[in-house]
Symmetry: C2
Subunit: 262 residues, 2 copies
């Protein structure tokens, strides 16, 4: 199985330009699963909840999902990307997965970062795992990586690959994603963005270095801090079914749930 | 508060030699808390459960605890070390804490590594936190670091410093302890050993690089892979009471316990 990520700099507020860029970038790619950054169709900074709502779309009814479904079908790859999702009067910071067969799955970010708390509703989905046939996949968005319970919930329910669209401004995720991979023995695809955004007095610089980590912690690919990159790695997702870190230590069977108080 | 660690190479099976070495090394040290490696009074490899039992002692009734209590009193520092602990007919891979006032606390390793499963009983203590007055301390032993639930249990119950006596042969703990520190916003003292041990056809090489990590992930000190080192760092343990990674993100209050299924 070939998995990959696209690291790039979205244009703030210009959904059409970002979709065109994504379509150009992924057309001709040979992969089974490609992960894009968080909020990569809209950019990250919104002046208000109303602006976030205006740029959000229903999933899968909106035009962004239509474009992504066509791209997924044409490029013959499942795609995971971040976008603001409208659900009734609620707006979520969402990760969406579409398959070449047109199936959609969605995850609403559970742990909101800083001013996202003013813009989005807190995710309501208990870390769903999606069975794509050859592999089970989970999604987290950016700051979710800080909470080991999130990745644990996904992997205890069978996720072999964690797709992690991100807009990182802190340094922690690159280290944490290695730990998340090894403590759960899963593949981890961290798709971060590059560039910066300014809104009023606030400027955020995003730090790239997107990476794919193997269940044993090896970095299979890593992007630079600044440049646009499309990276792929060939993996055997069955490796993530084996939770043994030694012949006598299965990381899931060795858990002491009788002793934890969390 | 000054905390530290002693990285060294224990002599297999020679408790008296190891205690003498520890006393020589810590005498004259100025610190409030020093952490030593796992099983550092006996060495790591035992040929059988009987041999482990023979080298184990009751805590705090045995001579090792008596020596450590005297050292703690004389050096005016709390000491955490690893030793095999006898409790009735059970033998635990234990971390013991003694204070200059002669108070003892003990933790029994919960997650046993490889052939330790033949030698020791599984720990029965639900990750106790010990209040030393100026600071609350928890202990984990080596392989426990793989399980985020262990450190989470300690820190949710107030531990500001996690003392982590280890005999590491895998590469993961150095990365994982940084993640454990930042995801829980605690200080982490990883005291690893150096050297190698051979028993029959089995040889284990221990990989040093003991380190103290701050709640923001900074490495305050790090030892070399091979040499004996006594390292200290001045810390403000109150930093570990503040769980905010941003002004609007408290890592404990932001947990979504309504969504986790672990």
């Amino acid at each position: 199985m070939r998995v990959g990520l696209l690291q790039f700099t979205p244009q703030p507020g210009d959904v059409r330009a970002n979709l065109n860029h994504i379509v150009r970038s992924l057309t001709g790619t040979s992969a089974d699963l490609i992960v894009l950054p968080e909020l990569c169709t809209t950019g990250y900074l919104f002046s208000s909840r109303d602006e976030a709502a205006k740029l959000s779309e229903p999933v899968p009814a909106g035009p962004t999902c239509a474009t992504m479904a066509a791209l997924s079908r044409d490029a013959k790859t499942a795609i995971v990307w971040g976008m603001p999702a409208l659900a009734g009067s609620r707006v979520f910071n969402a990760a969406v997965l579409v398959t070449p067969q047109g199936q959609f799955h969605v995850y609403h970010k559970a742990h909101l970062f800083v001013d996202e708390k003013d813009l989005f509703d807190r995710g309501d989905s208990p870390f769903p795992v999606f069975d794509l046939g050859p592999v089970k996949v989970g999604m987290l968005v950016c700051f979710d990586h800080f909470f080991p319970e999130a990745a644990r919930s996904l992997t205890l329910h069978g996720a072999q690959i964690v797709c992690h669209p991100s807009n990182l401004v802190l340094e922690y995720a690159h280290t944490n994603s290695v730990t998340r991979a090894v403590e759960n023995r899963v593949f981890w695809i961290l798709a971060n963005r590059t560039g910066s955004e300014t809104l009023g007095e606030k400027t955020l610089a995003f730090n790239g270095r997107s990476q794919i980590v193997a269940p044993d912690g090896r970095l299979l690919v890593r992007a630079s801090p600044n440049s646009e990159e499309l990276l792929v790695a060939d993996i055997d997702p069955a490796e993530a079914l084996d939770k043994k870190v030694t012949p006598r230590n299965d990381l899931f069977l060795d858990r002491r749930t009788d002793l934890y108080s969390i």
